[in-house]
């Protein structure tokens, strides 16, 4: 097993933990953390491919910087929405928010 495969495996595990957490967690904060894990799995993939395979070493790094920036913006929006929901139903548990049928 060479080291590229190790990194890819770790990234996949991160992604799967995130996906599992997203489906399992009932608290919106927990779900947000899970999403961040998934994003970092993708970021790790970019870095690993970049380090071991890509001819131009800048591309993957730039990609990861963009991913980090977008993740920050996403967290800001998600937290503000969670806060807005908390003000209305006094809870961050998704089980409590069930007015919509879908």
């Amino acid at each position: 097993m060479n080291s590229l495969h190790t990194y890819l495996f770790i990234a996949l595990v991160l992604f799967c933990i995130g996906l599992f957490g997203l489906l399992k967690r009932r608290s919106l904060i927990g779900m947000l953390i899970s999403v961040e894990l998934m994003l970092n799995g993708a970021g790790l993939n970019f870095m690993a491919f970049n380090r071991f395979l890509a001819p131009d070493p800048a591309v993957g790094q730039v990609a990861v910087l963009f991913i980090m920036g977008i993740a920050a913006a996403e967290a800001a929006i998600a937290l503000s929405l969670i806060l807005a929901l908390f003000r209305k139903i006094r809870s961050v548990n998704v089980e409590q928010a069930r007015q919509l049928k879908g």
Partner: protein, 474 residues
């Protein structure tokens, strides 16, 4: 330099409009009328910029951004969609007054994101543009005033959306691993080398899933009914028209990469197409809320568009482009009636339409034509669009797919006719006063009716433009 600016004209206009709206949102006290007239004026400038830039060609930002007829067609479509949506925002009853400039601002940044998206030919550019438009929508959905369902819908939309974008990003990382480049041109050139690696095919499929979310196609459709119901009527109109068109554009660009080389991809797309059509139509039948019904019908329409896309031929792509234009016009017409009838910004039950033909004959007529068009009855634009898409799929040898599509179109007639029945035949429970239809609304109605019939009877010009545009992306 001046030439480059000309290439970037529609986006530059959009950016300026966003900046101007940001400025307008700063004062503590705002004059709503003034803000709205400014917004309308600026968006008219944007439509003009879109028209002026229609036949530009070139590339910008280290080849990451391509301007061609294909992208400009969709940019013009988006500018027109924004203008139309803004034109029904004069009485913005669904949104708190102090947030209205922000409301216009986020609609504009969302359009900007979509404009960047249809021109992006590099994966990171595409991702950032997609997120710009998605993030604006995440904020727009919970801006509705009143009960809690808006925030709930917003949270739901946000979490499903960011999950879809994570999946998409993960797929992109595999494509990057296979190709070692993020440029779509490079990906297409080296495609025969890696398309048989399972990892790369998975990567491509995961990448497509982000777009299927935007389009509300089958496995990613479940946000649609809740978001359509929970968001303010104007925002729903925007999501149902502009955001669909941009998703179709991107789907065409990405599937064109693998044209005819991957059977897996074709099989998956066919399965999704059938599932979207059938599920959307069946679920739409049992809805009593008009917006939820239109949401499920949009899932079904995503299936029809996919049918054109999955042929991966020029004819299929140009008919899918025509269909997205048709869908924009007819869906906007239907939602415009929803916005006007629900003048207090509330949700509308189908039964609330009772007696509409007497309360507002013109709105009832527009609604009827829009729904006939959505169902695909000649001589409307919906019929022509469906006919073109089905014909393209037939020519590519997908007989069964077309058959399923036909059956679905017939099924959909049921629930569209139910709405028309409510508007024309049902008697309202109590006396309802007539709806006042203002002069500009009247003009908008006539324009929409004319557009639906004209494009239905004479699709040639638009279709030729679409065919010419598709030639650029192969």
């Amino acid at each position: 330099m001046a030439g480059d600016l000309l290439l970037f004209l529609p986006e530059a206009a959009c950016l300026l409009m966003a900046l101007a709206l940001f400025g307008l949102s700063l004062p503590r006290v705002q004059d709503q009328r003034r803000v709205h007239s400014w917004t309308m004026g600026l968006s008219l400038v944007m439509v003009a910029a879109g028209l002026a830039g229609l036949f530009q060609e070139g590339s910008l930002f280290f080849e990451a951004y391509r301007v061609d007829l294909f992208s400009q067609f969709f940019k013009l479509l988006l500018a027109v969609a924004l203008f139309l949506v803004l034109s029904i925002c004069r009485q913005l009853t669904g949104v708190e007054e102090r947030y209205q400039p922000e409301f216009f601002l986020f609609l504009t940044t969302c359009t900007l994101g979509m404009m960047l998206m249809v021109s992006a030919v590099e994966l990171m550019t595409l991702y950032v543009a997609l997120e710009l438009s998605s993030f604006s929508l995440y904020i727009l959905v919970p801006l509705r005033s009143g009960d809690n369902i808006d925030v709930e819908a917003g949270v739901k939309y946000l979490f499903i959306g960011i999950t879809a974008s994570c999946v998409m990003l993960f797929g992109m990382s595999y494509i990057f691993g296979a190709v070692h480049s993020t440029y779509l041109a490079k990906i297409a050139a080296t495609l025969p080398l890696w398309i048989h690696q399972p990892g790369a095919v998975i990567g491509l499929l995961l990448t497509l899933s982000g777009l299927l979310f935007k389009l509300a196609a089958f496995p990613f459709h479940f946000w649609a009914p809740d978001v359509y119901q929970g968001a303010a009527n104007q925002v729903t109109t925007y999501i149902a028209t502009a955001s669909k068109a941009a998703a179709v554009a991107l789907l065409i660009r990405l599937t064109a990469l693998s044209a005819g080389t991957s059977l897996y991809l074709l099989d998956v797309l066919m399965a999704l197409c059938v599932a979207s059509m059938t599920l959307g139509n069946l679920a739409a039948m049992v809805q009593s809320d008009l917006k939820r019904m239109l949401a499920y019908s949009s899932v079904a329409h995503a299936g029809y568009v996919l049918m054109g896309v999955l042929t991966m031929t020029r004819l299929g792509y140009s008919s899918a482009m025509f269909y997205s234009l048709a869908y924009m016009v007819m869906n906007f017409a239907a939602f415009m009636v929803v916005v006007k009838v629900a003048s207090g910004g509330q949700d509308l039950k189908i039964s609330d339409l009772a007696g509409l033909h007497r309360r507002a004959p013109l709105l009832a007529l527009t609604l009827m034509l829009a729904l006939f068009s959505l169902a695909g009855i000649p001589p409307t634009v919906g019929f022509t669009g469906k006919f073109l898409v089905f014909a393209a799929a037939m020519q590519d040898g997908h007989f069964w797919l077309v058959l399923v599509g036909m059956i679905n179109a017939t099924l959909s007639l049921y629930y569209y006719l139910m709405v028309i029945k409510a508007a024309y035949l049902a008697e309202p429970a109590g006396p309802r006063e007539a709806l006042a239809v203002s002069g500009p609304t009247r003009a908008l109605n006539y324009a929409l009716i004319a557009a639906m019939v004209y494009l239905g009877l004479f699709p040639r010009q638009v279709l030729e433009l679409a065919e010419q545009a598709v030639r650029n992306i192969f």
